[in-house]
């Protein structure tokens, strides 16, 4: 398809499709052995914000023998044009069709992107199912946080990388380049067989899934002798020495996160029981201040960005935060760059630091108490009290933050109506603090936003066994909260509960869901993370036509001894530890996090953990085995 004036004139933000940005990499295709299409199954603006993609793009392009290009999901209007003109999906840098690449890698960041992944394969003209691909087709791989339960997308991917890519991607490309150079011995199967020796690689076709009569999984076992029984997540042992790009692609079209991103650490020590990211990125590993300042300095020079953001799951936990902020502030004032601190738990320790740094931009502040009552915060082990929050609010209002946003989850395990009403009470209290801090604020109208999403139980969390509440009950609780909020100065925003139901079904699904996804695609599902595109009725139909029920995956309590569809994946944190955490949750006991001593979650088996040490008293170190006996 030619990019001509008239056709592109009808396209929303056409510069998303033309590439050529500062920092993007173009190579001579004749000079490389391996062409890698890095596919992000959402729009350009979302994908260009993704740190993992940035890291791996520059990592692969640092190799002389490989060229990595970017591919994003075309928006509905562009897809329409492409289909009408028979134009296949192409990579941004070269414009070459994706199906002509050697390796086509998808990053799975959230379940609601699965249909986009399939749609991109379809647009590329690559057979959807791995079994239908021939020797002339690219090898399609998956990675990213969502593949910790690889089963729902297992039928579509030739292989899957579980865990971090900095080392494994090199090994995969080395292996591919060698296999290609030596005349592709054994064909695709031969290459995939070799991959079984690369740590963290899962080749779904080498595993069979058996089901019990009640529809639960009986087991997932290798069907070849060379595939490991359990695939162990890949982690980078020394994060400080790990590759981090010193350049970044600077988009023309504003990305969602359009700034320099510095990654402080991986994993999280808090262990909030709903949070999948916390557990799957463990063990906790940090980068040193010196490394981070060096990276920041080079990125400021290379990108010309006006803002730098710190990335981690809980910025305030970074060990040497004071020193880092001091160093970054010096750098910032010299270069006129401002620093953004997301994921910051505001307390007296961090507030002093915020006050010191003039480079810190004060706009809105988001606090995430997650639950309204202390009882429920103990259940989820969110180690934040009401007093903490009031103090945070006071500090924030006192240091110039104008508006505040409170983020909660509805439908958490054991949630009762009092817990829902407690959200409204908490919001009202924060609002009063604001009015006291700033008497003029009252005239300004709504300046506090309460935002809720619905709890989605995720694999590799203590809540991986618990049922999600039904869609009708979700709507009732949402209305209850809306009615409980009395002040007109509090705005209430909520996410569509039906999206959360589908997300829950996909998150804990087994391999039979591959057929559901293919069906959903054929019914027209795509961009399901976008409320305008999401169509619940189509999803119900897709499940129904495959003889499955969404409720079986979303709303069913898993038995303590049930084989979970992802039990053959070892993410480090042990099943027994998670089961223990669930038992404590049901008793309303918070876990206390790793700062008070190693809880022995199991992730320390994979690599050195910042908090590893002797397990604290009465908490035996845990292995990967064991189930939840409390069911």
């Amino acid at each position: 398809m030619t990019h001509d004036f008239q056709t592109m004139g009808g396209i929303e933000r056409p510069a998303r499709y033309t590439g050529g940005e500062w920092g993007s990499v173009t190579k001579d295709k004749a000079g490389v052995d391996v062409r890698f299409a890095f596919c992000f199954p959402d729009t350009y603006e979302i994908g260009m914000s993704n740190l993992g993609m940035r890291i791996l793009y520059h990592l692969i392009n640092g190799r002389g023998d490989a060229w990595c290009e970017r591919v994003f999901a075309p928006w509905h209007d562009m897809e329409g044009l492409m289909r009408a003109s028979g134009t296949p999906l192409a990579a941004l840098e070269s414009g070459d069709p994706v199906r002509s690449f050697d390796l086509v890698g998808f990053t799975a960041q959230y379940e609601m992107g699965y249909t986009n992944m399939l749609n991109m394969l379809d647009l590329a003209g690559i057979p959807l199912y791995a079994k239908d691909r021939g020797e002339g087709d690219p090898l399609v791989l998956g990675g990213g946080p969502c593949v910790c339960n690889p089963e729902p997308i297992a039928d579509f991917l030739d292989f899957i990388l579980i865990g971090e890519g900095e080392e494994a991607v090199h090994e995969i490309i080395d292996l591919y380049a060698g296999w290609k150079r030596s005349g592709r011995p054994g064909g695709r199967e031969g290459f995939l067989r070799g991959l079984c020796g690369v740590g963290g690689v899962y080749v779904p076709r080498f595993y069979d899934v058996a089901y019990d009569g009640d529809g639960t999984v009986a087991g997932v076992w290798p069907n070849v002798p060379f595939a490991p029984e359990r695939v162990v997540k890949r982690v980078v042992a020394d994060l400080d020495a790990a590759f981090f790009p010193t350049s970044q692609v600077v988009p023309y079209v504003s990305a969602v996160h359009d700034r320099i991103a510095l990654e402080l650490f991986r994993g999280c020590a808090h262990g909030c029981r709903f949070c999948q990211a916390c557990f799957i990125y463990r063990p906790v590993r940090e980068r040193s201040v010196g490394t981070l300042i060096g990276q920041a300095s080079r990125l400021i020079d290379q990108t010309g960005y006006e803002e730098l953001s710190l990335v981690s799951l809980s910025t305030g936990d970074y060990c040497a935060l004071g020193g880092l902020v001091e160093g970054l502030s010096r750098l910032a004032s010299r270069s006129g760059v401002s620093i953004a601190f997301p994921s910051l738990r505001i307390d007296s320790h961090t507030s002093g630091m915020m006050g010191k740094s003039d480079a810190v931009r004060r706009g809105g502040l988001t606090l995430a108490p997650e639950a309204g009552s202390q009882r429920l915060r103990d259940v989820i082990s969110k180690g934040v009290t009401e007093a903490d929050m009031m103090k945070s609010a006071d500090i924030a209002f006192g240091s110039g933050y104008g508006s505040i946003k409170l983020y909660f989850m509805l439908g958490l395990p054991t949630e009762a109506d009092e817990d829902v009403e407690a959200i409204a009470d908490l919001a009202a209290k924060v609002l009063r603090r604001h009015a006291e801090a700033d008497p003029a604020a009252k005239a300004k109208g709504a300046d506090l936003t309460v935002s809720t999403s619905f709890f989605v139980p995720k694999p590799f969390t203590p809540f991986q066994w618990v049922p999600q509440i039904g869609v009708g009950e979700m709507a009732r609780r949402r209305r209850l909260l809306k009615d409980s909020i009395k002040s007109r100065r509090i705005a209430y925003k909520w996410h569509d509960e039906r999206v959360s139901v589908v997300e829950a079904a996909l998150a804990r699904g087994d391999r039979r869901l591959s057929a559901v996804l293919a069906k959903a695609l054929s019914l027209g599902c795509k961009f399901d993370a976008w409320s305008d595109s999401f169509d619940y009725a189509k999803w119900e139909r897709a499940f129904g036509e495959c003889g499955l029920e969404m409720g079986f995956f979303a709303a069913r309590e898993r038995g303590g001894n049930e084989v979970l569809p992802w039990d053959h994946i070892d993410m480090g944190v042990g099943k027994g530890y998670l089961a223990g955490e669930l038992r404590k949750a049901m008793e309303g006991i918070p876990s206390g996090g790793c700062m008070g001593g190693c809880r022995g979650c199991g992730a320390q088996r994979l690599a050195g953990c910042l908090y590893a040490g002797e397990p604290s008293a009465g908490r035996p170190a845990d292995g990967p085995e064991g189930g939840w006996a409390g069911a």
């Binding site: 001509d4 500062w22 990108t303 010309g304 006006e306």
Partner: protein, 243 residues
């Protein structure tokens, strides 16, 4: 110090919106370590103006902009360092010091366009000649202060000709505060041809290139000279060279 410059943006970058172009220049100045002056306030912005916003999709060969610098710099090093920091497809082509306080945007009077039309072989030359020879109003829907309204575009067209061998229409159109988009001119050609019965249906714009941007030459007469009809063509000078 204020630097006026011309820059070219090629086909590879023509779909970048005007606002994104502004941001691209701001970041390129930072990468080039050009000592730009910024606005005071909460969100300081680079003091950068472009003479004429550009419709997304239009290629430019001599777009005019001005940036205010906090220090005096050599124009040669300025151009070299900025060109080293601009993405492929964007390039400064000339620069000079702009001392006088000309309001760049309000000084714009006209701009040249080359409009490639497909399919080739349409009776374009006749249509253009017919349009220019005609006298009656040619109305198309045009956005004005009070929303879209049928507007006679004839006064917005200063000159036009067609090269039948390339399917290109070259036109000098009013630009700036009184402005005609090249696509509306094409619509006007179609409307006129429809009136005259020289079928131009199925016509589509393949590529639009904006060339020189023109300003109104300073008047040498008395300050009280009657400006008269806003559409009467005054003597024009290239905006880049105007002082």
């Amino acid at each position: 110090m204020r630097v006026r410059f011309t820059y070219a943006r090629g086909d590879a970058v023509c779909y970048i919106s005007h606002l994104d172009i502004m941001r691209t220049f701001e970041r390129a100045f930072r990468r080039a370590r050009v000592p730009v002056a910024t606005t005071a306030g909460y969100n300081p912005r680079v003091r950068l103006v472009f003479a004429l916003p550009m419709q997304t999709g239009v290629v430019g060969t001599e777009e005019v902009g001005e940036v205010t610098l906090a220090e005096t710099v050599g124009l040669g090093p300025f151009m070299d360092s900025v060109n080293g920091a601009l993405p492929e497809g964007m390039r400064l082509t000339a620069c000079r010091e702009a001392d006088r306080d000309i309001k760049l945007m309000s000084a714009v009077w006209a701009a040249d366009y080359a409009i490639e039309i497909r399919p080739p072989g349409l009776p374009l030359a006749e249509a253009v000649a017919g349009f220019m020879a005609g006298e009656g109003p040619v109305r198309v829907m045009k956005r004005g202060k009070a929303g879209d309204a049928p507007t006679d575009v004839r006064p917005f067209v200063i000159a036009a000709r067609s090269d039948p061998s390339t399917g290109t229409v070259e036109a000098r159109l009013r630009a700036g505060t009184v402005n005609l988009k090249p696509t509306l001119f094409v619509e006007a050609l179609q409307a006129h041809a429809g009136l005259e019965g020289a079928g131009l249906s199925g016509l589509a714009v393949r590529r639009v290139v904006r060339g020189a941007i023109w300003g109104e030459a300073p008047r040498t007469g008395s300050a009280g000279a009657v400006i008269g009809d806003a559409f009467q063509t005054p003597p024009l000078v290239r905006l880049f060279g105007m002082d």
